[in-house]
């Protein structure tokens, strides 16, 4: 109990206006910085259970954005979130699944590995090794349908986003930027550095739910050969 209270007391909570239909709650905790993303997701999941249709609750790595066209509903969500924050503790264990995602780093595919090797001063094979030897956590979904933000990237692979985003990143691209890895389930413009491609389909609007991976799930990448990639893609 005392642990819970001190956690909630030291949690910095700031509220911001985000237009007439939205509020943004930004969280910070000096002692548990890496856990804030988990807290945002678990709070959003609980809040979603209390919310009615027509509302959006968007958890990010250090924030939760509330959206409702109804003023009273928006205030209700804010109150409920404040209540949940007051009760929050550092025990943030959640149910999460481990997904093994096949990835192909072959040169014949569309990747930025050559440029990355030059920029990072690490050779390609080593980048590949460092990219798949760690386990990632899905910190959030966002940007476009089926884009996954993964934390856990090897520190030595940290790199700023491209200055000019690529006009089209193919669907299935696995990329890195800042301290994250990410998966583009759909083709889109993108500013992240592509390291490999997965043949897996991770977003399909005709399935329920349309995304195969949830926030806070864990990801391991399993390298596959070009032949296997092409076979699975066919």
């Amino acid at each position: 109990m005392s642990v819970n209270q001190s956690f909630a007391e030291q949690l910095e909570v700031r509220w911001y206006s985000n237009g007439e239909q939205s509020l943004c709650c930004v969280l910070n905790h000096d002692d548990y910085a890496s856990q804030i993303a988990v807290l945002c997701q678990s709070l959003a999941m609980r809040l979603r259970k209390l919310s009615s249709a027509g509302t959006d609750i968007i958890p990010c790595q250090d924030s939760i954005t509330l959206v409702s066209a109804d003023e009273q509903t928006l205030l209700y969500l804010k109150q409920q979130l404040e209540l949940l924050l007051f009760q929050s503790s550092d025990d943030l264990s959640v149910d999460s699944r481990l997904h093994e995602i096949p990835i192909c780093y072959d040169d014949r595919l569309d990747t930025d590995l050559t440029e990355l090797a030059a920029k990072l001063g690490i050779d390609k094979a080593e980048i590949i090794e460092r990219h798949h030897r760690v386990e990632y956590r899905v910190d959030m979904l966002g940007f476009l349908p089926g884009f996954f933000y993964l934390s856990g990237l090897d520190n030595t692979l940290k790199i700023a986003r491209k200055t000019t985003p690529a006009v089209k990143v193919p669907a299935g691209s696995v990329a890195i930027a800042e301290q994250m890895s990410g998966i583009y389930s759909l083709a889109s413009p993108g500013g992240w550095w592509v390291v490999g491609q997965t043949p897996e389909i991770l977003f399909d609007i005709h399935t329920d739910p349309p995304v195969a991976i949830s926030a806070l799930d864990r990801i391991r990448f399993r390298p596959i050969e070009y032949v296997e990639y092409m076979e699975r893609k066919a």
Partner: protein
């Protein structure tokens, strides 16, 4: 049923949008100019959320296989019905076999065609709104193409127009757009905020359902404020490192990492949906309570 003779530049099926899926990365979508779409629906006696066709700059040509009423609101897009130019902002009876043909568009970017029937389209996550980037909603997530056939729900009582005429916006090519503060507003200095509202911005060639890029004098940053991505709504005014604003549109990404100088008020979002290349805009900062009052007034006028 209607048959698409030509699809036009980008004609999509839209309603008032999708709610409750932003945490999956699936944004709101829906009509860019809600005011015009709602007006068109009311002219044909339908609910505000009844699916409409959103036509962009170059409209479609459609052949009707059913009798129904239609109404066209929004940009000054002109159409002919059996070679006769038809009036906008009015309910029009269309007979089976007639063809509606696009003629021209000058002011404003988007016109809405509403029907006195409901298109028979399977909703995706509660909405038929087309999200082009995600390929969902509407006709397989894409714009209308020659040869498409859109069925309407059978046995629907023919709606009657519940209003005769509506007051409509005037599109002049230069607009004042009001905004309230955003979560990152205090990342901007007083001088930056002052420069932002003092100058005029022009709409570039990049204006679409994802975003509208503006050009003008860039906002300079001594050091660009870094932030973690946050929930992003249509109408957000993002300032990327190059200092030139990008307005988030209805199909915008659900989270964004560029600092936002403000959030455009709901009452001015319909105008944002009508912006086209070279249009000039000037921003004006207002309080949240003023924004709420303006919305109220607009809702009452409709």
């Amino acid at each position: 049923m209607i048959e698409v003779i030509t699809g036009g530049l980008q004609t999509t099926v839209q309603d008032l949008g999708r709610r409750g899926a932003m945490h999956l990365g699936i944004g709101q979508s829906g009509v860019m100019d809600t005011l015009s779409a709602i007006s068109a629906n009311r002219l044909v006696g339908m609910d505000d959320n009844n699916p409409v066709l959103e036509c962009t700059l170059v409209g479609p040509s459609l052949k009707f296989h059913d009798d129904m009423l239609i109404a066209i609101c929004g940009s000054d897009m002109t159409f002919t019905l059996q070679q006769q130019t038809i009036q906008q902002n009015k309910s029009i009876a269309v007979r089976k076999g007639a063809t509606l043909t696009f003629k021209s568009n000058r002011l404003g970017a988007r016109a809405y065609i509403a029907f006195s029937k409901t298109m028979d389209i399977q909703p995706v996550l509660g909405s038929v709104a087309t999200h082009l980037g995600a390929g969902i909603g509407g006709l397989n997530g894409r714009a209308l193409m020659r040869g498409d056939k859109i069925q309407f729900i059978d046995n629907q009582p023919l709606a009657r127009a519940d209003i005769e005429k509506i007051s409509t916006a005037r599109y002049a090519g230069h607009y004042q757009i009001r905004y309230t503060s955003s979560p990152e507003s205090n990342n901007f200095s007083a001088a930056q905020l002052e420069n932002f509202v003092k100058q005029k911005y022009q709409v570039t060639k990049e204006f679409n359902r994802m975003g509208i890029r503006l050009t003008g004098r860039a906002i300079n940053f001594a050091e660009y404020p870094s932030m973690l991505s946050k929930g992003l709504l249509p109408g957000a005014i993002q300032i990327p490192p190059d200092g030139l604003p990008i307005i988030a549109s209805k199909d915008a990404q659900t989270t964004g990492g560029y600092v936002r100088i403000g959030q455009i008020i709901l009452a001015d979002l319909p105008i944002v949906g009508q912006l086209q290349t070279n249009d000039e805009i000037q921003f004006q900062a207002i309080s949240l309570s003023d924004a709420m009052m303006i919305n109220q007034t607009q809702a009452e006028l409709l």
